[in-house]
Amino acid sequence: MEFEFQSHPAELARIPEILDALGRRQPLGPKTRLALDTALTEHLTNIITYGCREGAPHAIRVQLTFDPPCVKARVIDDGPPFNPLEHPPVDTSLPLDQKPLGGLGIHMIRSSMDELTYRRENDRNILVMRKRLA
């Protein structure tokens, strides 16, 4: 299944409905759905917030497939090069008073997905996220 998102925050409200559509193909289970919801919301938020080129229309493609034993989400955008996997991991053992306020989105993507791969191809960022079906 493939969906196109425009680079506007209001588009993020579509994520639950696309997960509903995916779930109609094959049941996801609540934990898998929540993990996908989290990862897609955070990654698209980062693209929309940081990846827009001034003055240019900006489309983001999301491809969702079942790839047993996983569900796979591939997100393709034409923003500036950005590999979220290069962001240093957050130390989750830190007490609340010391946890950093930045980098939470990438941290949530890492925490919710079982596998992440990134590549830059034809001026596009491609992030592939896999989650094992529960």
Partner: protein, 105 residues
């Protein structure tokens, strides 16, 4: 109204409904700031009827947890739904939840 307020003495509870996404996180921040201006001593963010929290929501909770704590006051999450509990556990923020009000996941 996605956020409603219940007051009991100087204890306030903010009941959040639905998805705690970026837009609602901004609203939550406004509500919290209003309560801080009113000198609230305890603010509890009730997430029993919220089924999703994004990083912006966690950031608001963490930022004002710290600010309140620095003034010897309290801001914590109470009665998280199973989904909220799962996300806060997974991301290492379960200590934002009032002890004893955790959801069983």
């Amino acid at each position: 109204m996605p956020i409603t307020q219940v007051k009991s003495g100087d204890r306030y509870e903010l009941m959040v409904e639905g998805r705690l996404d970026g837009a609602l996180a901004n609203q939550l921040e406004v509500e919290i700031l209003n309560l801080i201006r009113e000198n609230a001593q305890q603010i509890y963010v009730n997430l029993a009827n919220s089924d999703f929290i994004c990083s912006a929501g966690i950031r608001v909770l963490l930022q004002y947890y710290r600010q309140m704590k620095n003034s010897n006051k309290v801001l914590l999450v109470t009665r998280p739904s199973a989904a909220i509990q799962s996300t806060l556990d997974m991301t290492g923020f379960k200590n934002l939840i009032v002890e004893g009000s955790e959801s069983k996941t």
